[in-house]
């Protein structure tokens, strides 16, 4: 029995046993359901093997929504635990695991895939391309991310979750202080998902640089595409640092090396340093696409072109460069001299300048606009003041000497939630609502959408604002309980109430999807929002080749010009289209990656070696495979176009 002991959760509780049963039952139900409705073939042909950027994008978003709820339940548990002083709902160990997985899941398995999903669906359409540059690689990216996320998620029922915080600082995350396999899960599942993200980065840089429609030079790209280009540059240059850091961590934990130990020449602080060399650019990876989404939405619903296009681009480039030179502000208190802290204080404050430029550009876009208050626009409007509050507290934290007071208090926690929730979560919800009709051919209910918007916005502020106060009063982050004499009780209770409001808001989004799927009108145009960029110029549902004729572009808002000024978007005639074939290899290889990761987590070397061989076999297969894609004939295109009501 000893062999199986390590698979047991080291710190079980009734909640975990209940989740085990729930996960088991759900899996049985899913498998039984698919078999009963005979959907295995459909699933395999249309989704598991697809290389279509639109379908991959939808799968990313589905996975992200699932993870949103997983991370959200973690958040609710934390708020419930701290709602009253000396609460016994969760014990210390359990609380550690919950806040660790909350952080990892929300950043890496919710925010990132949500953004990558939207970028997958929208970017090729906005630049008038038929697909991304490397469609097969795109499928590999998705499945690697998905398997990484699943590997991370099974940790809490098999072997125990990581408990060293999402930053996983050493020496706490070393074998000496984290004995369970939890931190192995962290190192390996992030590694697998990280490879997928890195591949996405390369894929989209090439797509945007090489596959734009004729006439669209870099300064005529829509703002969302610009933000995606810059984001992917950051991905390509920041993620290798994480890859290396996680590899060193894996070696420390599995093979007894001494990179991050405190003895034998190792340096525990080097982990924190490398983590944040990646970690700070990562913040901008999730925020810049959000800026792009807001730029599109604000310009569409203010019925004006975007104010200050050039300054928007320049400030994003400036942010991307500055994002690489500020990382040490995450550990001012670690013991550097005044010079280091001074340098990083100044670079950090400098980021507020380009960000401020963007805020003012949005305000000037709104100025004298005929604003339409749709759900995406509401999120965008709420974003501006709330994000500014987050930004201003960021400048407070940037002051190294003052940071000694705020460091690791709830004040910090609220700062980054005030930046990330309006910055990223509002943006992906806005983008999701905005592009939903393009993805699925009907609109989400505005009425339910507005209800969820108000629940989320008010709930968010009620949850987090009180923590500014408790944070300044000294409530530390990651503290699982506190005594009544501290006086944090009432405000934390208020936070919990707000968290329930947030939960209702997110539940309403799910209800909205359900309701709209059943009752929403399918009779909408290809351009229901009267928008400006190319993704609205094609049919809904989008044919697999996106555009029957590649559009020609002459300004940043080619589609708007086509609608209002009679600009001719589609000049050429229909020709046969070259498309990539589907492939099951990305899925199979990623499944092997999952097995490989699981084997490494539990040090099962033989399985790990076999899986490694399997991964290489898949890559060799790809190298020798002769797959030149296929052509869609002119007749077939014309038939599709006619079915979608008239070729243009």
């Amino acid at each position: 029995m000893d062999y199986f002991d390590r698979f047991a959760v080291p710190h079980p509780s009734p909640a975990i046993y209940a989740s085990m049963v729930a996960i088991g039952l759900t899996m049985i139900a899913v498998v039984a359901g698919i078999t009963y409705f005979k959907k295995w073939g459909y699933l395999w042909r249309e989704w598991l093997t697809t290389v279509d950027h639109k379908r991959i994008g939808i799968m990313y978003i589905l996975a992200a929504l699932l993870m949103l709820f997983r991370g959200g339940v973690d958040a609710l548990m934390m708020r419930a635990q701290t709602a009253i002083p000396d609460n016994g709902l969760l014990d210390g160990q359990h609380y550690n695991e919950v806040f660790t997985t909350h952080g990892v899941v929300m950043i890496l398995f919710m925010a990132m895939p949500f953004i990558i999903g939207l970028m997958n669906i929208v970017t090729p359409l906005q630049i008038g391309a038929r697909d991304v540059a490397f469609p097969r690689l795109n499928a590999v990216s998705f499945w690697l991310f998905f398997m990484g996320a699943m590997l991370f998620n099974i940790s809490f029922v098999v072997g125990g979750s990581p408990d060293a915080g999402w930053t996983s600082y050493f020496p706490l995350a070393s074998n000496d202080f984290s004995e369970s396999v939890g931190s192995n899960y962290y190192a390996i599942s992030l590694q697998i998902a990280g490879i997928g993200t890195l591949l996405t980065g390369i894929n989209f840089i090439v797509t945007i640089l090489k596959m734009r429609a004729p006439g669209m030079n870099l300064m005529k790209m829509p703002m969302f595409t610009w933000s995606i280009l810059i984001t992917n540059f950051i991905i390509v240059f920041a993620f290798p640092v994480l890859t290396v850091a996680l590899a060193l961590m894996t070696m420390d934990r599995l093979f007894g090396t001494q990179f991050f130990t405190m003895a034998n020449g190792g340096s525990d602080m080097l982990w924190a340093n490398l983590f944040w060399v990646w970690g700070h650019p990562e913040v901008y990876i999730v925020i810049l696409p959000a800026f792009g989404i807001y730029s599109e939405i604000i310009s569409t619903f203010a019925r004006r072109n975007l104010y200050g296009y050039n300054s928007m681009v320049i400030s994003m480039v400036a942010i991307s460069t500055l994002s690489f030179i500020v990382w040490a502000h995450h550990f001012y208190t670690m013991g550097h001299g005044a010079m280091v802290n001074g340098i990083f204080s100044i670079t950090t404050m400098a980021i507020a300048v380009p960000t401020g430029v963007k805020i003012f550009n949005w305000l000037f876009t709104l100025w004298k606009g005929k604003i339409v208050f749709t759900v995406p626009m509401l999120y965008s409007l709420a974003f501006i003041p709330i994000f500014t509050l987050g930004g201003v507290t960021g400048v407070m934290l940037a002051m190294a000497s003052a940071d000694y007071q705020y460091h690791n208090t709830m004040f910090l926690v609220v700062h980054f939630h005030y930046v990330l929730i309006p910055g990223t979560v509002f943006a992906v919800l806005a983008g999701f609502t905005y592009w939903w009709p393009k993805m699925f051919g009907f609109m989400l209910s505005e009425k339910i959408g507005k209800w969820s918007f108000w629940f989320i916005t008010i709930g968010f502020n009620v949850t987090f604002f009180p923590m500014f106060i408790t944070g300044l009063d000294g409530q530390a982050r990651r503290m699982y309980t506190y005594s009544e004499s501290t006086g944090y009780g009432p405000l934390n209770m208020l936070s919990f109430v707000g968290a329930i409001g947030l939960a209702i808001g997110f539940a309403l989004i799910v209800y909205n999807i359900y309701w709209s799927t059943r009752y929403a009108s399918r009779n909408i145009s290809n351009d229901p929002w009267d928008a400006r960029s190319l993704e609205w110029a094609t049919h809904t549902p989008i044919p697999e080749y996106n555009f029957a004729v590649v559009p020609t572009v002459a300004s940043t808002e080619a589609f708007w010009d086509a609608k209002k000024k009679g600009f001719k978007l589609f000049g050429g005639k229909v020709e046969k289209i070259h498309m990539p074939n589907n492939s099951g290899v990305p899925f199979i290889m990623s499944c092997i990656f999952f097995v490989w990761g699981f084997a490494l987590v539990f040090s099962m070397w033989i399985i790990a070696i076999i899986a490694t061989i399997g991964i290489f076999a898949c890559m060799i297969h790809r190298s020798f495979e002769k797959d030149h894609g296929r052509y869609i004939s002119v007749e077939e295109i014309e038939e599709t176009e006619n079915k979608l009501r008239g070729a243009k």
């Binding site: 490398l274 460069t321 030179i325 040490a328 280091v340």
Partner: protein, 94 residues
């Protein structure tokens, strides 16, 4: 025959082997940390440049401009990461 022999490539290959050997000298001889790091940095960047230009033909396509922009940006990030880490972990540490 002379045109067929890839003289540049062979010399480039030999040079990259020399660079590898020089980098190896850091552990073969008893060098100070400072000296070792300098040798590693110089040989690493030369090696990367050699590989990109000579064997990955960075300068030979029409995308020259975007490829070099990428390389310079990568160079910037690499230098910032290395020297920033030295700054926070060694030079500026109290």
């Amino acid at each position: 025959m002379k045109e067929l022999f890839p003289r540049g490539q062979v010399m480039g290959f030999a040079f990259s082997l020399v660079l590898t050997l020089v980098a190896l000298s850091v552990i073969m001889f008893d060098l100070s940390l400072k000296m070792g790091v300098i040798i590693l940095l110089v040989t690493a960047f030369m090696q990367a440049a050699l590989q990109l230009v000579m064997f990955m033909h960075a300068g030979e396509s029409e995308d020259k401009a975007s490829i070099y922009t990428n390389v310079y940006y990568g160079l910037f990030v690499a230098l910032v990461t290395i020297f920033g880490t030295m700054l926070t972990m060694i030079w500026g540490y109290q």
